[in-house]
C-alpha cells in the first residue's frame, strides 16, 4: 500500500534558496505534512517546517503545494497521482525565515491595529443576552484558524509589498466585519474605519481569499461585501452626509 513519490521542497533562507528533489515513501492515508515529517526523520533532519495540531485546527502548517496555498496537514496524498511531482514552497507573501517557515509578523501587526471589542458599559458580566441567529453571523468569522492563507493569496499584497502598509488583508477586514456585526459592540464607525484606515477599498472582491480558506468561511460574500455596503450606505446616504456636515459645523 506504499509507493515512492517525487517531492521537490524549497530549501533556503532569507538570502538564497532552491528547490531540492527528494524521492520519498508514501503510505496509504497520509497527508503532505506526514511526508515532510518523514523527510525530517530520514534525510533532512534540519528541514524547517511549522506545525502544531496536525488536524486542521491550529492553522500553523500553511504552505504552497504545487502553487496552491494550503494546509499541509489537510492535503491528502491520495489527491495526487503517484507519478506527479509534488512541489512544496513557503507562503509567497511573507519573508522566508528558513525552508518552509515564513515571518508572519505582518498579520500580528495588523491584528493590533483593529480596535478591540467595545463592551456595553451598562451590562455586568452574566447579563449579556443575544439571540443565536444574531451571534451566528460573527461565529462564522470566528471559525478562522489564522492560517493566513487568505492574507497570502490576496492579490492586493501577494505581489505588491508596497500595499502592505495600508491594507489589513482579508483576515482583519473580516475581523472588523465581525465586530461590526456583534450584537452588543458599542464602537462607532467600524465600517468607515475599515475604508479609511484599513484599506477596504483595495479589495475588488475577486474572492481568492474565500477560495483558499480551509474553514470554508465566505470571507468575501459574508464579511467584505456587507462591510463595503455599510460604507456605501454611510458615506453616500444624503441624510448621513447632511448630519455629518451639520455636526461638523456645530463642532467648529
Amino acid at each position: 500500500m506504499s509507493h515512492w513519490q517525487h517531492f521537490r521542497v524549497w530549501r533556503g533562507d532569507s538570502e538564497k534558496g532552491e528547490l531540492v528533489d527528494y524521492p520519498v515513501e508514501v503510505n496509504e492515508g497520509e497527508v503532505v505534512l506526514d511526508i515532510i515529517h518523514r523527510l525530517q526523520q530520514t534525510e533532512a533532519q534540519d528541514l524547517a517546517v511549522r506545525w502544531n495540531c496536525k488536524a486542521g485546527k491550529c492553522g500553523s502548517c500553511s504552505a504552497e503545494i504545487n502553487g496552491r496555498p494550503r494546509l499541509m496537514c489537510m492535503t491528502r496524498m491520495s489527491t495526487f497521482t503517484e507519478d506527479e511531482v509534488i512541489t512544496v514552497t513557503p507562503l509567497r507573501a511573507f519573508p522566508v525565515i528558513r525552508d518552509l517557515v515564513t515571518d508572519v509578523s505582518f498579520n500580528y501587526t495588523k491584528a493590533r491595529e483593529v480596535p478591540s471589542f467595545a463592551p456595553p458599559p451598562d451590562l455586568a458580566p452574566g447579563e449579556y443576552r443575544m439571540q443565536q441567529v444574531d451571534v451566528e453571523r460573527g461565529q462564522e468569522f470566528r471559525k478562522c484558524i489564522e492560517c493566513f492563507l487568505c492574507q497570502n493569496t490576496c492579490h492586493v499584497v501577494r505581489d505588491h509589498e508596497e500595499n502592505k502598509e495600508a491594507f489589513a488583508g482579508p483576515r482583519y477586514l473580516m475581523r472588523i466585519a465581525e465586530l461590526d456585526m456583534h450584537p452588543l459592540d458599542v464602537a462607532q464607525r467600524r465600517a468607515d474605519d475599515a475604508q479609511d484606515e484599513h484599506g477596504l477599498g483595495y479589495c475588488n472582491i475577486t474572492k481568492c481569499c474565500s477560495e483558499v480558506c480551509p474553514e470554508h468561511i465566505k470571507i468575501t460574500d459574508n464579511a467584505l461585501i456587507p462591510l463595503k455596503e455599510r460604507v456605501v450606505d454611510r458615506k453616500y446616504d444624503p441624510l448621513v452626509w447632511l448630519g455629518s456636515k451639520i455636526f461638523k459645523r456645530s463642532g467648529a
Binding site: N27, V31, W51, C58, R112, P125, Y128, M130
Partner: protein, 636 residues
C-alpha cells in the same frame, strides 16, 4: 561563552500561551505587573485550540437545578475522590464568573432560546453544563483571550505610546531552564526557534502554563508542543509533581488512517446522542457500568434514549460515563475480538441525528472525518479508539495561589496537579485553565508585591544553561544518535509498557528501557545550524519527556490499585487505603526521580457533608467517615 545573550527584565514571566497562560498574563497585567508571555509556537496556536466540547460552569442556564455544589460533587466523583478538594471547590464556584467574563472580552458562545449562554451535556456532568461554540470551543477561548491581550496592549499604547510596555508576547520561544537564587525564582533561559539565539528573562515570579505530556506516547491527541516542559522545568528547579500515574486516555480518538491515529473525536458526539457499538452492532457500554456509578446510569437502551429529551425522569446512557470507564470498555471490546476493522469500535451518530443536525452541531467533526478519513459521518459510523489525551498529574501547588513548593514558581492548567484527581471530566479543562490561570496570575502579582528585593540571577547558572542547550551540537555528543530515533523509542516504550492497562513486570521493563534511553538522550547529536532546526528542538524537548516519563512509570508501578486514569491488570480493584495517598515526585539530577508518599488533607466538613454517606463508603475507609453529618446526627 562568548555569545551575547538577549536580556529582559519583567515582574512576571508566563511560560505557555494556551488558555491558562493567557489568562494568567491578563491577570498579572491587570494587577499592574510588567508581564511577558512566552509561547513555544506562534501566538494563538496553543493546544487549547484543540478543545472541542466546551467549558464546564454551573451557570444553570439550561437546567436551573445546577449549582456549584452539584458541579463540585461531579468533579470529585469523576476524580474518584483523589482530587485536591479545595481546587475542585474553587473551580466549581468560580467557573461561571470566568465564562461570563469572556463575553465581556468579546466571546460569542452558542445561545439558549432566551439569549443566555447555551450549555450541553457531557460525560460525568449531572446537568447540561458546558458552554460551547459548536465543537470548536477551544478555538473560541484562545482567540478571545488573545484578543483581550491585544486590547490591553492597545490600552497601554494609548497610555505609553508602546504596545508592549506592560504586556509582551515572545513567540516561537522555548524555555530550557529556570533559575533559582537563594531558594527563590529569579529568572529563566531559552532560545528563539527562528534564529536559535539565546534569551534570558530576569523575573521574580514565573508562571508555568505549558500544558501536558502526551508526546511521550505514540498514540496521542496532543501536538508536538506537549513535551512536559513545565513539568520537567519545575522538577529541575526543585519543585514537586503529584498524581503523575494518572493519564487520561480519551476513549474516542481516530484510529484510521494511520497518519491521523490519535486525533480527537469530541465527546460531544456522545453528548449529542452518539452511541458506541462493537462489530456485532451491540451497544456494549451497558455491560460496563461500574458499581460506584450504577445508580446514576440507565440500564436499558430505551431509558438511555429517553434521557436526551427527559433528563429529569430518566438516567443518562452509559456512553456518558467518565472517560476512564469508556476508554477501558473500548479497550476490552477490541481485545475480545469485537473491534472494528482498524482496531477500534464504532461511534454512530448517523443513525441518531439528521444530517443537517449533525453538520450544525458537530461541524468540525464532519469536516475532520470528511477531509482526513474520507468518511461522511452523516452516513456512516466513525471508527474510534483510546488515545493519550491529558495528564492529571502535575506541579504540586497551593490551591488558592497556584504557587509550587518553590517560592516564586507558579503553575496553572494541565501542567499543575491535583484539581482533577485520578480522572478529569470532559469540559473541566477549559474551566480549570480560566479559574486557575487567573489565580496563578493573581498569586504571582501578590507574591511580587510582597518581595523586599528582586533576587539576582547567578551568571554561572546562565553559562551552565547555555552549555546544556548547546550540548547536542558539541563534540562531546559526536557520533550520538538522531533525536527522532530516540524519541520514537521513548514513545513506543511508554505506549506499550505504561499505557492504558498496566502490569508490574511491564513497567519494570519500561524503567529499564528508560534508563537506557536516558543515556542516549544525553548524547543525541544534531546536524545543521541553530536557525529553525527541528532536530535541535527535539533534542532539548527529549530530556523533558524522559524526566516526565520516569515520573509516570515510577508512580504507576508504585500505586498498587486501579483508579481513574491508572489501571493495573495485577491490581484491578480500587482500594480505599490508596485514596488518601499522593505520590510525590522530585528530581534527582537531570534524569532520575525520587518518589515519596504523602497523605491527602481531609475534606472540609461542610464539603464532606455535600455527599451522602452511602456514596462516600464506596471510596473512603471506615475511619475516615467519622466526621460525616450522618454520623454526628446519630450522636446528638
Amino acid at each position: 561563552m562568548s555569545e551575547q545573550i538577549e536580556h529582559h527584565y519583567f515582574d512576571v514571566v508566563v511560560i505557555g500561551a494556551g488558555g491558562a497562560g493567557l489568562r494568567a498574563a491578563i491577570e498579572a497585567r491587570l494587577q499592574g505587573k510588567r508581564t511577558a508571555i512566552i509561547s513555544k509556537s506562534l501566538f494563538g496556536k496553543a493546544h487549547t485550540v484543540m478543545a472541542e466540547g466546551g467549558c464546564a460552569a454551573a451557570m444553570g442556564n439550561v437546567n436551573p437545578n445546577d449549582n456549584w455544589q452539584v458541579h463540585y460533587r461531579d468533579t470529585m466523583r469523576g476524580g474518584k475522590f483523589l482530587n485536591n478538594w479545595r481546587m475542585a471547590e474553587l473551580h466549581a464556584k468560580e467557573a461561571p464568573d470566568r465564562v461570563w467574563e469572556l463575553e465581556t472580552y468579546g466571546a460569542l458562545f452558542d445561545r439558549t432560546a432566551d439569549g443566555k449562554i447555551s450549555q450541553r451535556n457531557f460525560g460525568g456532568h449531572t446537568y447540561p453544563r458546558l458552554a460551547h461554540v459548536g465543537d470548536r470551543t477551544g478555538l473560541e477561548l484562545i482567540r478571545t483571550l488573545q484578543q483581550k491581550i491585544v486590547s490591553l496592549q492597545q490600552e497601554d499604547f494609548a497610555a505609553t505610546g508602546d504596545y508592549e510596555s506592560h504586556l509582551r508576547v515572545f513567540h516561537e520561544c522555548t524555555i530550557t531552564e529556570l533559575f533559582r537564587t537563594d531558594g527563590r525564582m529569579s529568572g529563566c533561559f531559552g532560545y528563539f526557534r527562528d534564529d536559535g539565539r539565546f534569551v534570558r528573562f530576569d523575573a521574580p515570579a514565573i508562571v508555568l502554563a505549558t500544558g501536558g505530556v502526551g508526546k511521550s506516547y505514540q498514540v496521542t491527541s496532543n501536538s508536538w508542543e506537549y513535551t512536559g516542559d513545565g513539568h520537567a522545568l519545575a522538577l529541575r528547579a526543585g519543585a514537586t509533581l503529584i498524581n503523575m500515574e494518572f493519564l487520561q486516555f480519551h476513549p474516542t480518538g481516530m484510529v484510521w488512517p494511520p497518519s491521523v491515529k490519535g486525533i480527537l473525536v469530541t465527546e460531544s458526539v456522545r453528548g449529542d446522542g452518539g452511541v458506541l457499538r462493537n462489530s456485532e452492532g451491540k451497544r456494549f457500554m451497558f455491560e460496563y457500568i461500574p458499581d460506584v456509578f450504577r445508580e446514576q446510569y440507565a440500564t436499558s437502551e430505551e431509558e438511555g434514549d429517553r434521557w436526551y429529551t427527559d433528563p429529569d425522569n430518566n438516567r443518562r446512557p452509559p456512553e456518558l460515563l467518565p472517560r476512564d470507564e469508556v476508554a477501558r470498555a473500548i479497550n476490552s471490546e477490541v481485545k475480545a475480538g469485537r473491534g472494528s476493522p482498524h482496531g477500534g469500535v464504532f461511534l454512530d451518530i448517523a443513525s441518531r441525528l439528521s444530517p443537517e443536525e449533525i453538520q450544525k452541531r458537530l461541524p468540525s467533526m464532519y469536516h475532520q472525518f470528511k477531509e482526513l478519513a474520507d468518511v461522511d459521518i452523516t452516513k456512516e459510523p466513525m471508527e474510534v479508539g483510546p488515545t493519550c489525551h491529558y495528564v492529571m498529574g502535575g506541579v504540586e501547588v497551593d490551591p488558592d495561589s497556584g504557587m509550587s513548593t518553590v517560592p516564586g514558581l507558579f503553575a496553572a492548567g494541565e501542567c499543575s496537579g491535583g484539581m482533577h484527581g485520578s480522572n478529569r471530566l470532559g469540559g473541566n479543562s477549559l474551566s480549570d485553565l480560566l479559574v486557575f490561570g487567573r489565580r496563578a496570575g493573581l498569586g504571582a502579582a501578590e507574591y511580587v508585591d510582597g518581595l523586599d528585593a528582586v533576587p539576582a540571577v547567578a551568571a554561572a547558572d546562565v553559562a551552565e544553561a547555555e552549555q546544556r542547550a548547546l550540548l547536542p551540537f558539541s563534540s562531546a555528543t559526536e557520533g550520538g544518535e538522531n533525536p527522532f530515533v530516540v524519541h520514537l523509542e521513548l514513545q513506543k516504550t511508554m505506549n506499550d509498557l505504561v499505557g492504558i492497562i498496566r502490569k508490574a513486570d511491564e513497567m519494570e521493563l519500561a524503567l529499564k528501557k528508560l534508563e537506557d534511553i536516558a543515556t542516549r538522550t544525553r548524547t543525541v547529536s544534531v546536524e545543521g545550524r541553530r536557525e529553525f532546526n527541528p532536530g535541535w528542538h527535539l533534542a532539548l524537548d527529549l530530556r523533558n519527556m524522559l524526566l516526565v516519563s520516569l515520573c509516570v512509570a515510577r508512580a504507576a508501578l508504585e500505586r498498587q490499585e486501579s483508579r481513574g486514569g491508572h489501571t493495573r491488570d495485577d491490581y484491578p480493584a480500587m482500594d480505599s487505603d490508596w485514596r488518601h495517598v499522593l505520590l510525590v515526585c522530585s528530581a534527582l539530577g537531570e534524569d532520575n526521580v525520587e518518589l515519596a508518599r504523602k497523605e491527602q488533607i481531609p475534606m472540609r466538613p461542610e464539603l464532606f457533608d455535600l455527599f451522602e454517606l452511602d456514596e462516600l463508603k464506596k471510596y473512603y475507609t471506615g475511619e475516615e467517615l467519622g466526621g460525616h453529618r450522618a454520623g454526628s446526627g446519630e450522636d446528638s
